[in-house]
């Protein structure tokens, strides 16, 4: 079935460097995407979202890019900090009602 997936299950970056977390989706009709951050023992925390009528959206230190041609979503974190260490999920809204979550990417920030 159609699903959301991530290219890299783990990502290690040096503190201060930029991080890029990728996500592939297969449903071309999906029109809303959310990135979540989940720290150990906590629920997913909303980071940033984007709708399909946009290619890029920026927040505080984070940018989401949407490439509808290749059905690819990415989350860029600028100047990665130790507090950014977590598992990151992309979620895809497939039918205007429910979201489908990918398996997640673990980001480890090295000192």
């Amino acid at each position: 079935g159609e699903s959301v997936g991530l290219h890299l299950p783990t990502l290690s970056v040096q503190e201060g460097d930029n991080s890029i977390i990728n996500c592939a989706y297969s449903n071309s009709a999906s029109d809303y995407f959310i990135w979540y951050k989940q720290e150990s023992g906590k629920g997913p925390q909303f980071i940033i979202d984007i709708r399909s009528n946009m290619d890029k959206r920026q927040g505080q230190r984070v940018t989401v890019l949407l490439n509808k041609t290749v059905k690819h979503l990415s989350l860029q974190i600028a100047a990665t900090q130790p507090g950014d260490s977590a598992v990151y999920f992309c979620a895809e809204n497939m039918d205007g009602q429910n979201f489908v979550f990918g398996p997640g990417t673990r980001l480890s920030v090295l000192p």
């Binding site: 959301v4 629920g43 009602q97 979550f101 398996p103 997640g104």
Partner: protein, 113 residues
């Protein structure tokens, strides 16, 4: 604004026992979701409520799982009887309306022995 509240945070039970989880969504949020998250995986939807109506329970194992949201505010998810494979984190989320941004609670970590 208070976030989504869930209780208990942790629960350990023996198989075949019943268990219940409670969720209070963000005030004003009409849509409430229950998810199950297995270790190392993303959340998987169990049931979605619009106010007090369960509009999507297609992924809810109805032989042992039940849920209610009687007054369209807080909700309870029950498992009876629990099986070993039910061990997971049960997450509640809410949004103002369907397909809107979801906000999650901290989850209940269930361990079935």
């Amino acid at each position: 604004e208070a976030g989504v509240v869930q209780s208990p945070r942790y629960k350990i039970i023996e198989k075949k026992q019943p268990v219940a989880f409670w969720c209070n969504p963000i005030s004003g949020h009409n849509t409430l979701y229950w998810y199950r998250q297995n270790l190392g995986q993303g959340p998987e939807l169990l049931i979605r409520y619009e106010n007090e109506e369960a509009v999507d329970d297609s992924q809810l194992p109805k032989d042992r799982f039940s849920a209610e949201r009687l007054k369209g505010v807080d909700s309870t998810l029950k498992i009876q009887p629990a099986e070993l494979g039910d061990s997971a984190v049960y997450l509640c989320a809410s949004s103002r309306r369907e397909a809107d941004t979801q906000y999650f609670g901290p989850g209940t970590r269930l361990t079935v022995l």
